[in-house]
Subunit: 215 residues, 2 copies
DNA sequence: CCGAATCCTGGTAGATACTG
DNA sequence: CAGTATCTACCAGGATTCGG
């Protein structure tokens, strides 16, 4: 299935043959958040052509990064999920995302924030050394997109969707307001004052949030 | 210059727009080894079409990852070198290479080992915690390709070409013999016996080598 | 409605030839 | 040495269609 090759006996060349084609790594990113149905992937990647998604999923299967699984009876749906090998690419993906985020200045016209990109950016900016302290759960809303994160025993989990019982809610009118929060790490007075950032929960939790997530 | 976009305000999407096209990341890998002339890049990437190399170099310049520099008088040559931002991608590239190396079983027909892929694989497999002890320099030869590595103050540097005064020389007839050495980490009796591996230098240095480099 | 396959168009990669 | 030019083949993008 790998038709285009690089002709080098090299780990990086092999990696690029598997995940180097357009859209592939974004599909993997969304599958890293959790198993997804075909339609979930389409809504999570609004601009992907359906035939490309179909082709990429087959390639990911063939390379052993993902499996196609039919859910048992009552569900009767198809989900795609990563294999262990597929999940093992997460550190590389995190590093790439961290590097690419350095040029994330302003959203370009038409650019959106998706639940998966937001959830992954929380994982990307997570600093274990800033996560000391008691467990807590928070919900993050950016431009209508909602994800939640849980800190349990200094381990972070992130998922799309609202939090059942959040200790902290951070709502950001724009993507840049949240990015500035995790980039600058200082008390977001201006953003809170002008309403671009809205917070519910204890003040100390917002401080912990700014320690835990840092770009 | 980034014509094809993903429409997401996301660090990973930005990264893929910059380095996601075919050949780009392999060019970056070779430039991470050191500044290179156009012809050096061609010989280091034997299968790249020359027009693609030309296009990619312009894109890398435009994205701020590389600069084109005309050497001063006596040389009168052009070199391409990474900017600081370009060099900062190395951790992501290392992670990708490490992940891809898991499927490096046998070389496929026609696949070659290049000096840059070999040098980068030494950086990829380098373990700082296995590098304790006095400095030493070594030369690694695989299937006619020669690179050298220097350990100085527990910091590794790797370059193509022979070592001026190596403490250790490891010569491998095939790429797999060297890979097995850094993968298995055990004493390579079989390889030494059947001649697929040849070593010059103190025995203890070969042991240190197998501690320093581990896949 | 979900999960695709098919068709068409245009752009990009690959191969080779050529040039300042 | 350091590219450009040209041609072909293939892949991505977009729309539509199709089967369960």
């Amino acid at each position: 299935m790998v038709t285009r090759v690089y002709g080098q006996f090299c780990g990086l060349a092999r990696a690029m043959e598997m995940i180097g084609e357009r859209w592939t790594l974004l599909i993997v990113r969304n599958l890293l958040i959790g198993p997804k149905r075909y339609t979930d992937l389409r809504t999570g990647l609004p601009d992907i052509p359906t035939n490309i998604l179909s082709t990429r999923l087959k390639q990911l299967e063939q390379c052993g990064l993902a499996v196609r699984r039919a859910l048992p009876y009552p569900e009767r749906a198809v989900v795609y999920e990563l294999t262990e090998y597929g999940r093992d690419i997460e550190p590389a993906l995190i590093e790439l995302g961290r590097w690419g985020a350095r040029t994330l200045t302003e959203p370009r016209s038409g650019e959106v924030v998706t639940a998966e990109s937001l959830a992954m950016s929380l994982r990307t900016t997570f600093r274990p050394d800033g996560a000391l302290g008691p467990d807590f759960g928070c919900e993050v809303r950016v431009a209508g997109v909602i994800v939640h994160a849980d800190l349990a025993d200094a381990v972070l989990t992130t998922c799309p969707g609202p939090h059942p019982g959040p200790d902290l809610i951070i709502e950001s009118r724009t993507a840049t307001a949240l990015r500035d929060l995790v980039r600058d790490g200082r008390w977001p007075e201006d953003a809170l004052a002008d309403g671009s950032l809205h917070v519910e929960g204890e003040r100390t939790l917002l401080e912990r949030f700014t320690m835990m997530f840092r770009l």
